[in-house]
Symmetry: C2
C-alpha cells in the first residue's frame, strides 16, 4: 500500500533530501534536517501523489489518508508536548504548500491553525493575552480569506477584514495595529467570524480538525489557481508535478524580545565570499520579514551593524546558529539558504535548501570549496550551471531589483537591455544617434533592420524562434534578444504594443521604457538596474579545469572578423560555421548581390559575380587573419535567393538602374523567385548545381584570400562546406567543381594551400546515406536547425503558433529548436555518425546548428562521438563547460 504521509521531528524523519519530487522542496529539506538532529519543529508532509490523486478523482483523497494524518498528528503530540485540538494543552500548526521547485508566493498558506475561542483563552493564559488574540484574529482572517474565500470580488472593493480592522482602529483612535488591546483583538476575531457568516452563509469552523482538512484542501486547490497556472506556464512547470502539503508545529518569533525570526545564507549569494550572511527581526513572525513591515537587521556583527546584529543581541542563539549552518554546509557540501525562528531563546530551524546565487558566486564558491577540500575539481565543474555563465559575459539585470515581468518570450540571446521602445529600425538609429538607449520591438526582423539592431540595446520580437533572424543576428552581435514573444500584439500604425495579461490589457507605447532579460526571455516594464560583466581569477581557474576535462573541441559560428576575435577570446578553437551570405547583407555588397540574383542569364550573372568577388575575398582575408592557425569552415551560399531581394520601391529602383532595366522587370523577376516553402526550395547546394558560377566565384574568393593571408606569413586552414546535400551525386559534382576551381587559383598563384571539402548534414536523407556521402567528404557538420525542421516537419518560423502549446501540454518536453530532440533527431544523428565512420573511420564530425551552445545538446554530441561543437561567440564558454560536464558524467 502506498504511503501518503511522511513525519519528521526530534532527530528523525521518514523523508530525506532526495525526495523532493514526492515531498516538495520544503518537506524534503525539513526531513533531512531532522535526520541530522537539527532542532526542527515536528510535523508531517502529505505527498504530491495525493495532489495528483485529488485532481484525478474529483477532489477526493485516497482512503487511507485520514488514518495516516491522524497517526502523524499523534506523533506530533508525542514530540511537541502539545496536542492539536486539545483545549487545555493546544498545539497550533502551519499548513504550507511545497512543490518540487520553488513557486514563491503563488500558492496558499495558513498559519496559527488549530484555534477556537476556548483554545485562544487557554493560550492567553499560558502565553500572553495580546499575543494569543492577535494570533487568533490573524488566523480567522487568513482562514476566512484563503480557505473560505471571503475576499474582494472586484478591484474597487476593499478587503472586508481590513474594513473592520480600520473601523476598530478609528473607534480606538489607534494609528497602528499594535495600539489595539488584547480585548480589541479578541473582539475583532468575533467580528471577523460574524462577517464571514453574514457574507458567506457559513459558520466559521470551531473544530481544529475541520480547520485542518479545510486548509489542506485549500492548499491542494491553490495548485490550480490562476496565478499558479500562469506562473507554471511562464516557467514550463508541468501541472502533473503537483504540490505537497506540510503541516508543522508553529513556533513563534513574536512572543517577546527573546524571540526572533530570520533568513541566512552560508556564503554571500551575490559575490560568493565565504561569510555567514543573513537578516533577522526580533519579536516578529517570518511573514513580517517578507512583508517588509520593519527593516531587518544583519545576522552577523560588523562595523555597520551598530550592535543590532543577532551576534550581538542574542549571542547564545547566534552561536548555535553558526554551528548549525556549518554543519548543514558540510553535510550538503554546498551553500545553503536557511530559515530559522528563535522562540524564547530557543533556536528552531524551519527550512534549508541549496542557495540561489549569482554566476559570480557560483564560480567563486565552487573554486573555493575545492581549495577548502570540501569538494573535488570534478564536482566543482559538474556543479556549475553552464547557462549561468552568460551572466559573466553579458550585462545582466540586478537580481535583487524588483521587476514587473509582463511577458516571457524565448531567451534568444543572453544579456540584458534597458531602453525606450521603438518599432522601426530608422527610429532606432535616429534616437541612438541622439544618445538615447532604445529597444527595437518588431513582429519579426529582416535583413533590412540590421542598422536598427546595431543601434538598439536589445531586440524584442513577437514571432520567430531560437534560430530566427533576430535571434541569430543578435547572438552574433552579443546583444540581448527576446524572440517569439507570442503574447505581444504589435501595432506598427499606432507605434505601440499590447499584452493581454489575466484579462487586463497592458499597452506600451513608443518611448516607454522596458527592460529585457535575454537569458530568461523576460519582458519587464520600466527600467531595471543592470550589472556589468566581469571575469575574475576564479573564472580563469574554473575554465582551466574545464578545458582539461573535456574531449569535445569547441568552435564558433562567426561571419565577421570582429565576431571571430570575440570568440577566440572566449576560447573558440576555430570557426565551425562561417555563413558567406551574412556578408551579403552588408550595405556595400547587397546591390551587387541583387544584380547577381536578378540576372537574366549566366552572362549577366557572371558580370555581377565579378563585382562580388573582390568583396568576398576581402571578407575572407579578414576572417582568416583573425583565426590564423585555427580551422575555418566556410559554407557556400545557402539561403533561397529571394531572401536578398528588396521589397521596397527605393532599393528596387536602385537594382533596376544597376541592371539597366525597369522596376517592373525587377518586380517580375522577384515574383518569379517566390516559393511556397522556401525552406524546402531552391537553396543550398541546389543553387550550386543549377548556377555553378556562383559557387565557383565563392571558392575563388576563398582560395585567393587564403593565398593572400598565407603570403603574409599566417597559417590558414580553410574547410569548404557544401550545404543541404541530400544525394551523394550532389556532393561528388560540387566537390569536383571546388577542386577544379581551387586548382586553377593555386596554379595561377603558384602556392599550395591545404584545404578540405565537406558537407553539412541537414536533411534526413543525408543521414540515411551518410556512408555514401562519407566517400566524398572530408568532414560532416550537422546543421541541426534544418535537420530539426525536416525531421520533425516543423518550420521554425511558423512554429510559434503551436510549439509553445506543445511544450505546455508536455508533448515535447523542451522546444526541439532549443535542445536536440534526442529521441527522434538523435537517432538520425547517431545513424549518420556510425554510417559515415563505417566508411571513413577518421571522418571529422561536428555540429554547427544553434544547438551547439546548449548544454544538454552538447552532452548529446559528446555521447555520440562528435569531434566538435560550434556555437555563437558568447556561448563558447558555456559549450566548453557543458563539454567538460558531459565528459565527467560519462567518465
Amino acid at each position: 500500500m502506498a504511503k501518503f504521509v511522511y513525519t519528521f521531528g526530534a532527530g528523525a524523519a521518514e523523508g530525506a533530501a532526495g525526495m523532493k519530487a514526492l515531498l516538495g522542496g520544503k518537506g524534503a529539506g525539513l526531513g533531512e534536517m531532522s535526520r541530522l538532529g537539527l532542532p526542527v519543529p515536528p510535523g508531517f508532509t502529505i505527498t504530491t501523489e495525493v495532489c495528483r490523486y485529488h485532481y484525478e478523482h474529483e477532489r477526493s483523497y485516497p482512503a487511507s489518508l485520514e488514518v495516516e494524518v491522524a497517526a502523524a498528528l499523534a506523533h506530533m503530540a508525542t514530540l511537541s508536548g502539545g496536542k492539536f485540538g486539545d483545549e487545555n494543552n493546544p498545539l497550533l500548526v502551519s499548513v504550507r504548500s511545497g512543490a518540487r521547485v520553488s513557486m514563491p508566493g503563488m500558492m496558499d498558506t495558513v498559519l496559527n491553525l488549530g484555534m477556537n475561542d476556548a483554545i485562544a483563552a487557554t493560550l492567553s493564559k499560558s502565553t500572553d493575552p495580546r499575543f494569543a488574540y492577535d494570533s487568533y484574529r490573524r488566523f480567522v482572517q487568513m482562514y476566512g480569506d484563503v480557505v473560505l474565500g471571503l475576499k474582494p470580488q472586484t478591484k474597487d472593493e476593499h478587503d472586508p477584514f481590513e474594513v473592520i480592522l480600520d473601523r476598530k482602529k478609528s473607534e480606538r483612535g489607534a494609528a497602528n495595529d499594535n495600539e489595539l488591546s488584547a480585548e480589541d483583538l479578541r473582539a475583532l476575531a468575533f467580528e471577523f467570524k460574524a462577517e464571514i457568516e453574514n457574507r458567506l452563509g457559513v459558520s466559521f469552523p470551531d473544530d481544529p480538525h475541520e480547520q485542518l482538512w479545510g486548509a489542506i484542501r485549500a492548499v491542494f486547490g491553490s495548485w490550480e489557481n490562476p496565478r499558479a497556472n500562469t506562473y507554471r506556464k511562464m516557467y514550463n512547470i508541468p501541472s502533473e508535478w503537483g504540490t505537497a502539503v506540510t503541516v508543522q508545529a508553529m513556533v513563534f518569533g513574536n512572543l517577546g524580545e527573546d524571540c526572533a525570526t530570520g533568513v541566512a545564507f552560508t556564503r554571500d549569494p551575490s559575490t560568493g565570499e565565504r561569510r555567514f550572511f543573513g537578516e533577522y527581526m526580533r519579536n516578529a513572525q517570518g511573514e513580517d520579514v517578507v512583508a517588509g513591515i520593519r527593516t531587518p537587521q544583519p545576522v552577523s556583527s560588523s562595523a555597520a551593524s551598530a550592535g543590532n546584529s543577532l551576534q550581538e543581541t542574542m549571542p547564545k542563539a547566534y552561536g548555535e546558529l553558526v554551528e548549525l549552518y556549518q554543519k548543514l554546509e558540510r553535510h550538503f557540501r554546498d551553500m545553503q539558504d536557511i530559515e530559522f525562528t528563535i522562540q524564547k531563546g530557543k533556536l528552531w530551524m524551519l527550512q534549508t535548501r541549496t542557495g540561489k546565487r549569482t554566476a559570480k558566486a557560483m564560480v567563486r564558491i565552487g573554486v573555493e570549496m575545492v581549495a577548502e577540500g570540501l569538494i573535488t575539481v570534478d564536482e566543482a565543474v559538474l556543479r556549475m550551471e553552464p547557462s549561468k555563465l552568460d551572466e559573466l559575459l553579458h550585462p545582466t539585470l540586478d537580481p535583487n531589483a524588483a521587476k514587473q515581468v509582463v511577458a516571457i518570450g524565448l531567451p534568444a540571446s543572453p544579456g540584458a537591455a534597458v531602453g525606450k521602445v521603438v518599432f522601426h529600425a530608422d527610429d532606432a538609429e535616429e534616437r541612438a544617434q541622439k544618445g538615447e538607449r532604445v529597444v527595437l520591438v518588431r513582429v519579426e526582423t529582416s535583413p533590412e533592420d540590421i542598422h536598427g539592431m546595431t543601434a538598439a540595446q536589445g531586440i524584442l520580437t513577437a514571432r520567430g524562434g531560437m534560430t530566427s533572424h533576430a535571434a541569430v543576428v543578435a547572438r552574433g552581435m552579443g546583444k540581448c534578444c527576446v524572440a517569439g514573444c507570442a503574447a505581444l500584439n504589435v501595432d506598427y500604425a499606432r507605434r505601440q504594443f499590447s499584452i493581454n495579461r489575466d484579462g487586463r490589457e497592458i499597452i506600451v507605447k513608443q518611448g516607454d521604457v522596458i527592460s529585457l532579460d535575454g537569458a530568461k526571455g523576460e519582458v519587464i516594464l520600466g527600467a531595471v538596474p543592470m550589472t556589468a560583466p566581469t571575469l575574475d581569477s576564479e573564472y580563469g581557474t574554473l575554465m582551466k579545469w574545464v578545458d582539461a576535462a573535456r574531449r569535445l573541441r569547441v568552435r564558433t559560428n562567426a561571419d565577421t572578423p570582429i565576431d571571430a576575435v570575440t570568440a577566440r577570446n572566449f576560447g573558440a578553437e576555430g570557426i565551425g560555421l562561417c555563413r558567406t551570405e551574412h556578408m551579403f547583407f552588408a550595405e556595400d555588397k547587397i546591390l551587387a548581390v541583387r544584380e547577381m540574383i536578378l540576372a537574366k542569364d549566366e552572362r549577366e550573372r557572371r558580370r555581377a559575380l565579378e563585382k562580388i568577388l573582390p568583396m568576398q575575398r576581402a571578407d575572407f582575408v579578414g576572417i582568416f587573419s583573425a583565426m590564423q592557425g585555427l580551422p575555418v569552415t566556410i559554407r557556400l551560399l545557402d539561403p533561397p535567393l529571394h531572401e536578398f531581394l528588396p521589397s521596397e520601391a527605393g532599393p528596387m529602383q536602385e537594382v533596376a538602374r544597376a541592371l539597366g532595366t525597369t522596376v517592373e522587370v525587377v518586380r517580375a523577376r522577384t515574383q518569379a523567385l517566390h516559393e511556397a516553402n522556401p525552406m524546402l526550395g531552391h537553396r543550398g547546394c541546389r543553387l550550386g548545381i543549377t548556377y555553378p558560377e556562383i559557387y565557383e566565384t565563392q571558392v575563388r574568393a576563398i582560395v585567393e584570400a587564403a593565398c593572400e593571408v598565407k603570403r603574409s606569413g599566417k597559417e590558414v586552414l580553410p574547410e569548404i562546406m557544401i550545404p543541404l546535400v541530400g544525394h551523394e551525386r550532389e556532393l561528388t559534382r560540387l566537390r569536383a567543381l571546388v577542386e577544379a576551381t581551387a586548382r586553377r587559383v593555386l596554379e595561377a598563384q603558384k602556392l599550395s594551400i591545404n584545404f578540405t571539402v565537406g558537407t553539412m548534414i541537414e536533411l534526413p536523407r543525408a543521414c540515411l546515406i551518410a556512408d555514401r556521402l562519407a566517400e566524398s567528404a572530408d568532414f560532416f557538420s550537422f546543421g541541426t536547425n534544418d535537420l530539426t525542421q525536416t525531421t520533425l516537419g516543423v518550420s521554425r518560423d511558423d512554429a510559434s503558433s503551436f510549439l509553445s502549446e506543445y511544450v505546455r501540454l508536455g508533448i515535447y518536453p523542451v522546444d526541439p529548436f532549443v535542445a536536440i530532440d534526442r529521441e527522434g533527431l538523435g537517432q538520425l544523428i547517431a545513424m549518420a555518425v556510425e554510417r559515415g565512420r563505417s566508411k571513413k573511420p577518421d571522418l571529422k564530425i561536428g555540429i554547427c546548428g544553434e544547438h551547439g551552445g546548449e548544454p544538454s545538446s552538447v552532452e548529446f554530441c559528446h555521447q555520440t562521438g562528435l569531434d566538435y561543437v560550434s556555437c555563437s561567440p558568447f556561448r563558447v564558454p558555456i559549450a566548453r563547460l557543458a563539454a567538460a560536464q558531459a565528459a565527467l558524467r560519462l567518465k
Copy 2:
C-alpha cells in the same frame, strides 16, 4: 583488352539480342538474326563504349579500334564476295547510328559509302549505269551534308545540292529526278564535289577508308547534335548511354522490278490480331518508304490488295518472309517489327525488334499467346506495361496521327484532351456552356479554379509537380492534365502563352487549339484525333490472372461518392484515403469553413462547426453507402487553414458578413494565418491538438454517418486516420479524443460500430519512433508525398525550379515525387514497417501517397511487406497489375 567491334553475317555473330546497351538496338538485333541463320547482309558494330571514350578523350578513339575495324572489313569481304574500296570488286556499306533505345531520325546515317569515280564506273558496268550514278550522286550529296557539313546556313537559304539538281533538271527540261540520264547523274556527282570544294575549301575524299572514318566520326558526333540533345532531354535518356555505329554491306531494293523493300509486324500492332501485317515498295530503297515518295502496298494479299501485295507479286520471297517471321516470333516469343529488302529476288533481313503496340494490342497479344501455348500466364502478366493500361481507361491521342510536340511537362493525369486554350476558370465555364471544348492553361491552379477544371477537357500548368493541386484534382476527376510544364511562359494579361523552342518563340493565344497527352506529358499544337477507351474480354481475362497473382490489396484515394463508385468499378478494394478537406472546397461549404477558420475564439469556432457538421455527415453517408462492405479510411483535417481562405474581395466580404465583422478584420486574421513554410506549419494533427473542437466535429460527423448507413442495412467499416503525427503523445491524445467522441455518439444512437484509429506516417520522426506509435495505432498509412518532401527537404510546389535539372543531370534518376526514392525514403519506410510490426505484428500498413499507383513504387510496397496501396481511381487497374508483377518477380 576491351573488344570494340562485333561482327555479324552468314549465320554467325559476335553480338546477340541481350547486348543492346553495348551494341544498340540495331546492332544487337542484327547479331541475333545472324545467329539464327537468317539472311543478314554482313557487317559489324562499333560499341557504345567507343562513343563514350570518344567524348571523354577529345574526340579520339581507343588505340586498337583501327585494327579491329580493318579486321571486320576483311571479314565482311570474305562473307560478301565484294571488297570495300576495291575498284574492281567493290563493296558499298551503310553507316548507321543505333542507341539502346530508338531515337528515330535524331542521328545521322550515310548510305552507299565506299564510292569514288573509279568504283562508280565499275558498278556502272556490273549493275546498271543509271543505278550506279544515281547512287554515286546520292552518296556525294549525303556525305557532303552529313559528314562535311554543307547545308543551308540560314532558314532562307536553299539547300546547295538541291539548287544544282534543280538547275540540272531545268537544263534538261526534266520534271522528275528519274528523267535524268546516267550521264546527267554522273555530271551531278562531279558538280556536287566541285561545290563542296568551292564552298568548304576541302576536297571530297576519294579514299573509301577516309570516307568510312569520316562517317563514323559524324555518326558519333550526331549523338550530341542539338536535335538529339533536345530529344534526350524530353525523354530522359542519359547522354552517357552513347550510340553504337553499325557498318553493313549495302543491299539494294532498287535494282529493278525484282527488287523491293518493306517493313512488317508479326501481328497487328494496333488491334493485336494474329495476322502478318506490313507494307513494301518495289524497286525502292528503305529511305523511299520512310520519305513517302510513293504509296506502299500491303505485304499480304486481301480483297483490298488488288493483286499488288508482295504475296501476289513475289510469292517466293513472300513465302520465305513468312517462314522467317514465324521463326522470329517463335524465337523471341513476342510480336516482332521487321525490315527487309529483296535484291534481285533474294530476301535480306535488315532489322528485327520487339514491335511497339497499343495497349489494346498488348493485352490481346499477351492473352492469345498464352492460349497458343507460346508463353505462360505469368509471362503474359509480366510482359504487360502497367502504365499503358491508361490507354484502355482514358481517351487517347491517335498514335498514328502526326503531331507537333512543342513542350513536355509532367504526365500528371492520363488521358488526352483537345480544345481551345483559355486562361481563366470563368472563361472555361462560359465557353463550355456554349458547347466549346476548352483546355484550361494556368501557371498553377487553386481551389478557386475547380469550376473551370470541371468545365475543361484538360488542364495544363506551368508550375507544380505530380502532386500539385492541378494534378491531384485532375486525377480525381479522371481528366487529362499536364503539369509543371516549365517551358510555358503564361501571360494572363495578353491571354497567351509562349514557348521558347530552339531559339524560336511559339505563341499560343486564347482560342487557339492545342492537344494534351496526359500519359506522356506532351503539349501539341493543333487538334490530334482521339481514340475512345474500350475494355474487351481479353482485358477481363488478364485482370483475373492479375488478381490471382497479387498479394497486395489495392484501394483508392477518393473524396466523393462518384470517385468511390468509379474506383470500385476499376476493382478498388476500399478507400485508403478520403480527404475531408477536399469536401470543404465545395461551393455550399466553403463559407462555413471560412467562418470556422476566422473565428476569433472557440465559441465562434464551435458555432461555425455546427453548420459544417450536417454537411460533413451527408458527405460521409454518400461515401459509406458507395463503399458498403469495404473499409474507408478517413483522414481528419490536414492542410494549413489559410488554404481555405479567400484572397479576393468578393468572398472576403461574404465571410465578413457571415461573421458580422468587417473586411479589414477578415483580412487581418487572414494575414495572421500566413506562414513562411506552410508545408511545415500549423497543420495536420497540430490543428487537432490546438483546436480539438475541429476534430471532435469531424469524428461526430463520421460516426453519425456510419450509424445512419448501418441502419439502412449496409455494412460500414470506418478507419479514422490522424495526419502528420511526429510524436506518440500527439497520437495518444487525439486517439483519446476520437474514442471519447465516438463513444458519446454511439451511446446516444444506441448502436455499435467497429471503427479503427490509425495514423499517417509522413514525417521522418514518425518512422524513427514507429514502435512507439504502433502502440496507439491500429494501422499505419504512409503519406509518401509529404514524407518525400521532408526526407529529401524538397517542396513539391517549388521543386520545378531545380528538380527537372536534377533528373536531367542524373542526380536523381527519376523524379522522387513520381517513383519512391528507394535508396533514401525506402530506408525510412522499411524501418517504420519493421519497428511498427515489432510492437504489433498484425499492424495493418498501407500507402496513400501518389506513389500508390506507380508501378515501381507498388513493387517496393510489395517487397516491404505492406498490406495495401491506395491510388486515384483511374490508377487502380495499373496498381493491380503492378502488384501482380511484383509478386511474380519475387516468387
